[in-house]
């Protein structure tokens, strides 16, 4: 098991993959998760317009506590038109 991070839309290009699995010992805050990632990706993920869904439900960034077996999706603004 692991914490699965999903990168939707253009964030996939920044992450270099649609998902990244992190081995985590205990549930992590968003800040702690960002520390485990490449700096460029970490900066992109904490942008003001990125929404997050924990196990399919939208959560505020401050509410993120994600551990083993969880799925945390990062959702950039949707495309227009």
């Amino acid at each position: 098991m692991a914490l699965l991070l999903l990168f939707l839309g253009p964030l996939e290009d920044v992450a270099g993959a649609g998902e990244i699995a992190l081995d985590v010992a205990e549930p992590l805050t968003l800040a702690a998760i960002a520390e485990r990632l490449e700096p460029e990706l970490a900066v992109a993920l904490v942008g003001a317009k990125i929404r997050m869904a924990l196990n399919g439900n939208l959560v505020a960034p401050g509410e993120v506590m994600a551990g083993d077996g969880d799925e945390l999706a990062f959702l950039p603004p949707v495309s227009g038109g």
Binding site: G9, P10, G56, A73, L75, V78, S79, G80, G81
Partner: protein, 149 residues
Amino acid sequence: MRIAGGAFDPHAELADFANGRESAGGIVSFLGQVRQEPGDAVEALELRHFAPLTLPGMEQLVVRAESHWPLMAVLVVHRVGVMMPGDPIVLVACAAKHRRDAFASADFLMDHLKSSAWFWKREKTGEGWRWIEPRDSDHADLTRWQDVP
């Protein structure tokens, strides 16, 4: 209401939808397709979504429309994946006793599907794939419907 991972035939869908809806006086449909103009550089379009949010969001939207207008039936089919020019992207159909309700609800559904649903879109040209940015004008479309709870 469904998300289609592969190609669908909008006219067969519409024919099925109309069949047995003899109590509806009018059916309004919107078919959106991958646009290709002469000289257009777009070779393909890809739509991605996040199913855990897209599906409940679309279901909620249909419920909202059905609560506000007296509708007999609503059809929403939305493609995801890679599409070619001319391919259908979205089909919305609303069957109602009265014409005005069918028009308004189909218009409402399209405004909200395109702007609020969790879809990310990229286009392929000779220079490769490029993500489409969010657009402000879609938000303007939504202010038309502020009286719809």
